[in-house]
């Protein structure tokens, strides 16, 4: 069934405000998405009714809160079709998930001379943790080149895979260009060489129906706040066989079995990787976001977002001097562009005054900016609460801004 967009917009209270005297058009969804009332109420509800530290209390509130928290782990496992809730680790976000993985996987399996393959379109958070690992353990980082259209050079990827490769870590969708990477092919090639694959799903999880078993990825990481959930919650999915072997990341409460000064044994999965009190209120809000998305249907969401994206690409073409950065054959709702020779900062500043929230700059992907020899881009990112009318207003605003800056 087609989505009722006006009804969906009514679920997001922040969208109805004015900015600089103009109705807000929020197109910075790749940075973070807005939250529906159901999510806001669920998180606030924790503090109003069940707040209590989880997992360790014998009292009523602690039990209720723990059950609500663990219920979300079941929801996440169902949402991504994980084989077991043991494979769902709660983190603070994608960045922490990747730091956890690079540390624990690296300390367990990697030694000097080993190689990790990344790509030229990764977000800094899928580059720097691996560089830190590289410095610690003498591991080498190999980078898959990006083509002029903003796609991965798959020939280049095949050439990088070799007997020294220990892991491939790649974005499912590019945060700058919206390129949907051929992750099925990457996983097949890597697995044929006995190499596990981590997918950075930060930009994919709210667009596409993700099935980790069908994808057969070894790790999948994402953030709650980019899928309408509160900030400060994320997930590391990992196949049990890897997680069981991996050393813990942070030490503390919850992640232990027995502690003594002569030696400590660690808790089972998933708790081994969840030291300290988690952001349980955020996690419970995250559960409400999953409910909300499942109620609307990921297939329906994708169908609408794809239609909106195609409409935006078509309409934006008419703006004189517009140049799209990345025009992959398969793209999600992210459009990066430049307006003539104008600096992205100028375009973004003027659009802000007209009520538009867009992002400008390097989008935490400086290597990709260097690849295209640009200082940055203007990025409009669309989700299911955006409308064709907003696209029309954006085009109108771009015409005005373009004239002012030329």
């Amino acid at each position: 069934m087609a989505l009722d967009i006006q009804k969906i917009r009514d679920d997001f209270p922040i969208l109805s405000q004015e900015v600089n005297g103009k109705p807000l058009v929020y197109l910075d969804n790749a940075a973070t998405t807005q939250k529906p009332l159901a999510v806001i109420d669920a998180e606030a509800g924790v503090y109003k009714t069940i707040n209590s530290n989880i997992h360790r209390g014998v009292h009523h509130l602690s039990n209720v809160c723990t059950e609500a928290f663990e219920d979300v782990r079941r929801k996440v496992a169902g949402f991504i079709n994980a084989d077991s809730t043991d494979e769902v680790i709660f983190t603070r976000g994608t960045t922490e998930s990747i730091n956890l993985l690079s540390f624990s996987f690296g300390e367990t399996f990697l030694k000097e001379g080993d190689e990790v393959i990344l790509t030229g379109m990764e977000h800094h958070s899928n580059i720097v943790p691996w560089q830190l690992l590289a410095q610690r353990r003498g591991v080498e980082i190999k980078v898959v080149p990006v083509t002029d259209s903003g796609e991965l050079d798959m020939q280049g990827f095949s050439e990088l895979l070799n007997e020294k490769t220990r892991l491939v870590a790649v974005a499912h969708i590019s945060n700058v260009m919206g390129t949907i990477n051929p992750v099925e092919e990457i996983i097949a090639l890597a697995h044929a060489a006995d190499v596990p694959v981590m997918l950075d799903g930060a930009q994919a999880i709210h667009h596409l129906a993700v099935d980790v078993q069908k994808l057969d990825c070894d790790f999948y990481v994402f953030s709650g706040h980019k899928m309408y959930a509160p900030t400060g919650v994320g997930v590391l999915y990992g196949k049990r066989k890897w997680l069981e072997m991996m050393k813990p990341y942070q030490g503390g409460g919850e992640m232990i079995d027995k502690v003594s000064f002569s030696g400590t044994t660690f808790n089972d999965l998933p708790y081994k990787f969840e030291a300290g009190t988690p952001n349980y209120a955020g996690v419970i809000g995250f559960g409400a976001a999953i409910d909300y998305l499942q109620e609307k249907g990921m297939e329906e969401i994708w169908a609408y977002e794809h239609e909106l994206f195609k409409y935006a690409m078509e309409k934006m073409q008419i703006v004189p001097g517009i140049r799209f950065v990345g025009q992959a054959a398969r793209q999600s709702g992210v459009i990066s562009f430049l307006l003539g020779n104008s600096h992205p900062f100028d375009v973004g500043t003027l659009l802000d005054k007209l009520g538009f929230a867009l992002r400008t700059g390097h989008h935490c992907a400086q290597p990709l900016m260097d690849r295209f020899q640009i200082p940055g881009t203007v990025r409009a990112s669309f989700v299911f609460y955006n409308t064709k009318e907003e696209v029309d207003r954006l085009v109108e605003a771009l015409l005005r801004v373009g004239a002012m800056l030329s």
Binding site: N20, S342, H343, P344, F345, D346, T349, L350, K353, L354, T360, G361, H362, P375, G376, R400, M404, L405
Partner: protein, 140 residues
């Protein structure tokens, strides 16, 4: 004109506009009209690399007064650079050090001088003061 009087003058010019886009049109115009930056001074030590945009600043002491040259790769930032230089260039180190910049706030461009804006302008103002201090010490 004192720095304070110059600031008042800028405020009056901007007071004529109540629409944001008109204010920014004026800034773009000022950016375009800014004296071209001497390429010989486009040196790494004169570059202030903001996360969003770049600013270049060069300073020389002439007859006890500091003359600044500036530039930016973003035209709106360049317009604000032009305003800062119009207000501060050609004054003594003491005058610059004693100055409180109030005109940016008054004309509604405060957000561009916020430390979180990362466009290079905050660092530029600090650098202007640093030059003033350095020249003051040099003059004895």
């Amino acid at each position: 004109m004192t720095i304070k009087e110059k600031q008042q003058e800028v405020i009056e010019e901007f007071a004529a506009f109540d629409d944001w886009m008109d204010k920014y049109s004026l800034l773009i115009e000022l950016g375009n009209e800014l004296d071209s930056f001497d390429e010989a001074n486009r040196l790494p030590q004169n570059l202030i690399d903001g996360c969003q945009s770049k600013v270049w600043l060069h300073a020389e002491l002439k007859n006890g007064l500091i003359e600044f040259q500036g530039d930016s790769d973003a035209i709106i930032v360049k317009g604000i650079v032009a305003l800062l230089l119009r207000v501060l260039s050609g004054h003594s180190p003491d005058e610059i050090l004693e100055t409180e910049l109030f005109f940016i706030d008054e004309i509604g461009l405060k957000e561009h001088l916020s430390p979180t804006r990362s466009n290079g302008l905050v660092a530029m103002v600090k650098q202007i003061k640093a030059y003033a201090l350095a020249f003051k010490v040099k003059m004895g």
